[in-house]
Symmetry: C2
Subunit: 295 residues, 2 copies
């Protein structure tokens, strides 16, 4: 498999996928995005799902990362244990399709009672480091369905922890008794900061969620503030866990801008300096560096 | 409206309803249960839904409690503020259907930032007190979709707080990434106690939920223990909130036996004495005493 003459990079998640055709010099020549995440691919359907991408972006080698390598994806790729850097990922690529495609392994953290796994975020985090956007020793959060807090040491992922913030917010908005209160988009502001403060300082999350409903019913809080408050509450509980892992200093928030914006607002309200790094740019940096390591 | 010649008592919840025909002396002559909770009743359909009950149990006055009196139910019944006893509930019955039916009001707690509401549990708690099954000053929990922790003072509900334990467990089991791990019924035992301990002692619930998945993927914990662990974890977080409200001494766990059993196991593991009181018997005691107060 040779990536030196251009390749297709794929970030293949649970509910959607993005792909880019990279020219030999690394420039993006074309891209696509659709909702054919791994859950939308029928059993035995990955060969065809990959062919769709090639039909749109060209017949090139492919480098894939994300849930495509999970036990619900195409083929289960192994986890690289922490500390994990780009050389460790590149050395453990899982070749598929007669060497015409490769899946980047995930990363596992396993220490005593603590255990965690990631697939996809490692490419972004290590790509940003390889590109010089973050230092060799850094603390990051990567908000999404499952927010990852990551400690980078000596240019390698040394420890991380996942918080189910995004998934819980979605479950509450789609299926819970709070559903009708959570239709409003959650924006930073006083209600968000009030929820954040509660989540950071208190330990009664599963009760406070119901209090949001009660305060609305008793007209102690306007219903249009509930969504921002609940978002702040969940992110506050998230920061409480993450800041313990992160230690002192700046936090880099990496990922989709609409989410890093919320987390940077939360970190500012919690008195922590932060900086956003675009997840797409970091992913492309990561796959380019992996491609160079295996060429 | 006269209840002295027998009546039908209805505990009408969100997802199901139970009804009993009580003879003039208070004995149960017949009963029914179905899944026509308030969410299953179409708009404008309560008159007919009530007629169904009468068709099965007899043409008698009806005394109803629960979510039937909520803003999603038949007619919104007011909340009685704490402290609330049976006399306050009886004085604020909401008459409907030309005095042939009445809805017991809910109870609201409103103090500073704290706010909470209940509908249905108040009849059970105050019924058990009126019957002498619990003292005038007592601490209770009432597990269910929304667990209620209640402090009874001088025979009245003085304060309470709702924890969304049951609903969160159901959301996780039905819709989350943990769904396939939570199919096993949650039983007391070592995994339950381990989760309980974590929930009681730590404040990282939204992260620990993902750790359950990671430990299973990394084969650090058997997948058949995940359900009991998550149940223990959520109940531990619940107890942490509730025991602050409850203060010292015995906790009475009231409600459905399969749930009070789990909570009594959790309280025992947390070193707190507890006793279960059957929710159905307490409900019937409550409606009988309310009927006497208005006859």
């Amino acid at each position: 498999m040779r990536f030196s003459e251009g390749f297709i990079a794929v970030d293949w998640g649970t509910t959607n996928r993005r792909a880019w055709r990279l020219e030999p010099g690394g420039a993006v020549a074309a891209e696509m995005e659709d909702e054919n995440g791994i859950l939308a691919v029928p059993e035995g359907g990955f060969h065809q799902a990959v062919a769709q991408i090639r039909a749109r972006l060209g017949d090139l080698p492919m480098l894939m990362a994300g849930m495509v390598g999970s036990n619900r994806g195409w083929i289960e790729a192994p986890y690289v244990p922490c500390p994990a850097g780009l050389p460790e990922l590149a050395a453990r690529l899982l070749r598929v399709e007669e060497e015409q495609a490769a899946i980047v392994p995930g990363v596992a953290f396993d220490s005593g009672d603590l255990a965690d796994v990631m697939r996809g975020e490692e490419v972004q985090v290590l790509g940003a480091y390889a590109e010089g956007w973050i230092g060799a020793d850094a603390a990051l959060c990567h908000p999404g369905t499952h927010n990852k807090w990551v400690r980078l040491e000596d240019g390698r992922i040394a420890a991380f922890r996942t918080v189910m913030t995004g998934e819980l917010f979605n479950l509450l908005r789609e299926h819970s008794i709070l559903a009708d209160l959570l239709e409003t988009p959650a924006e930073p502001g006083p209600a968000f900061e009030s929820g954040l403060r509660h989540g950071l300082d208190r330990d009664d999350l599963t009760a406070e969620l119901f209090s949001v409903r009660a305060r609305t019913l008793l007209r102690k809080a306007p219903r249009e503030e509930a969504s921002a408050y609940v978002s702040g509450l969940l992110i506050g509980a998230d920061l409480k866990v993450g800041l313990r892992l992160a230690g002192e200093g700046e936090i880099v928030a990496m990922g989709r801008p609409e989410l890093t914006r919320l987390f940077c607002a939360a970190l500012a309200a919690a008195g922590r300096p932060s900086r956003a790094v675009d997840g797409e740019a970091a992913f492309l940096a990561g796959v380019r560096h992996i491609a160079e390591l295996v060429r």
